[in-house]
Symmetry: C2
């Protein structure tokens, strides 16, 4: 079975060889810029890996994988406008470097380009591939809307948050694997199993990302920690803390989770202290582990024996890094 | 053969019966609002009419037609953000009534919904339908970008303008007819003929729209005239006038085509006078007529004899109203 690294290399080569330098350049430059920013290319390579795992020729999934990656980058491009985010992967976001109108329109074009690649899927798999892709695209939009809603809503529950990250992040990981499985010729049962494997893995991944944003080693995590605390983001940690806190602890949370705190370093320090005191870190790790185990249970259910599952397992392990 | 009015009624009934009231309501309310604003539903009904014309069952094209209409409304929704347009069809635009983020995201969702409907196209026509739909979606974005570019570019030629309206408006009319023809089982030759019929008709339609924005009867045209003059829009009329004008006439154009004119009524009056003096109105009518004749020539080329062409001809005539 092909290794993740080999497929990653092949995918990157495919992507780099595609010509997207069309006219008007004001539209296509931001698209190339966005795709050249890099990123882990997890989703397209997952699709290729899955196609290969179920006995298919991964080269036949290359265009579809490209569609998946372009769609993912389109969502980031539009999210950055909505979230007012100036930096992505260490570089200026499109709406900052150019303007909002350019970001809206080049995003729209990427969405259409994604479908142009997806349409190259072999005819016998085309309808099924589109059905899951369309459904997921809609869910990702719904997830982003819930995320925006929660910024101003008072009463967000852990259940609400879970639903939001499922829609915004997890289903797309599941869908990428599922599309690879469809093209690889997997049985309907295995197509479903791999989808849930991906979805639960996606949940664990997002919760882990939230955890690392507070407790991660900045060097290993690759970005500054504390961002979610500073922006009062209602993550699992935030919501769990408010669920558990009473008396003085509750006062501490209320005192520091305010807009425009006068001392952000102190805010992060105090909230981290409160989280540790309340055991929110332990709860979060348990939650991550539970989703991870559920993902593994779906991987175990897969009946296909054409390849062993070690590559998918090691990928899952790498996604949910254990070295924080 | 089915009449346009019958198909329009059936399409509206189909659209009204579709349930798009999902959660989160912040995302779906603007979508229903946009689709409920009305509009002429020209493109979806053209698709149905064309399917029927070539001997297909138009009911089989209903979901695809719905996808076409949702896509069209998505482009309007995003264009209104980019163009800062507060009013559409007599009502507040989505970004004005809600905000830009809601407008971006509900637009994205409509794009995905459009593909969800298109994917319901009968499997034997799916790939061809998607290929033309994807291509057109990209071209419409390119057209909008050229349109935005021309707002600030100094040297826009009539050729540039023609290319822009072709991409932004004409190809989508051609594509709607073409998709109907594909589902209706037309020959490849006729699929191409009907596409160019629609494209040339679309060109005539857009040039006519520009003409009526200056010289139209406000009651018949259904909106206030002079808008393009006030906003210094580089239409065919504007560009032709600058091409022809010399001496005093050129001075008049330069004097009044300025940003923030102190007296817009006077501006419109003076520019109209200059247009008439330069014969720009006649040039424009000739241009419209030429595109119209080219459209008719492609209609004549159509070999299919299952139905007569009177309904398509009368539709073309109605689109390019002769009663201004």
């Amino acid at each position: 079975m092909q290794k993740f690294e080999t497929l990653l290399e092949e995918f990157c080569e495919f992507l780099n060889n595609e010509n997207l330098n069309f006219e008007p350049k004001e539209l296509y430059k931001p698209i190339s810029y966005t795709l050249d920013l890099g990123g882990k290319r997890i989703r397209p390579v997952m699709a290729l890996l899955c196609c290969n795992f179920f006995g298919g020729d991964y080269k036949e999934a290359m265009n579809t994988a490209m569609g998946i990656e372009i769609f993912h980058n389109f969502t980031l491009l539009h999210d950055d406008i909505m979230d007012d985010a100036p930096i992505r992967r260490g570089k200026e976001t499109v709406y900052k470097k150019w303007d909002s109108n350019i970001a809206i329109l080049s995003g729209d074009t990427m969405f259409a380009l994604a479908y142009q690649y997806i349409t190259k899927t072999k005819i016998e798999h085309l309808k099924k591939t589109l059905e899951i892709f369309n459904k997921t695209a809609i869910e990702v939009c719904e997830g982003q809307q819930f995320d925006m809603n929660y910024e101003t809503e008072e009463n967000v529950s852990i259940e609400d948050y879970t639903k939001m990250i499922k829609l915004k992040t997890a289903v797309f990981l599941g869908a990428s694997l599922k599309i690879g499985a469809i093209i690889g010729g997997a049985s309907q049962k295995d197509v479903d199993n791999i989808y849930y494997f991906g979805e639960y893995l996606g949940m664990a991944f997002q919760l882990q990302d939230d955890f690392l944003d507070v407790f991660g080693d900045e060097e290993k995590f690759g970005k500054k920690t504390g961002g979610d605390i500073i922006s009062n983001k209602k993550t699992y940690l935030y919501l769990k803390a408010f669920e558990l806190a009473k008396g003085n602890d509750l006062e501490t949370l209320k005192k520091h989770f305010i807009p425009n705190h006068s001392d952000n370093n102190k805010k992060v320090e105090k909230i981290k202290e409160a989280y540790l005191k309340l055991g929110v870190d332990k709860h979060s790790e348990e939650e991550i582990n539970e989703y991870y185990q559920q993902a593994m249970a779906y991987l175990d259910k897969i009946e296909c024996r054409k390849n062993n599952k070690s590559e998918l397992k090691s990928l899952a392990g790498r996604l949910i890094r254990r070295d924080y």
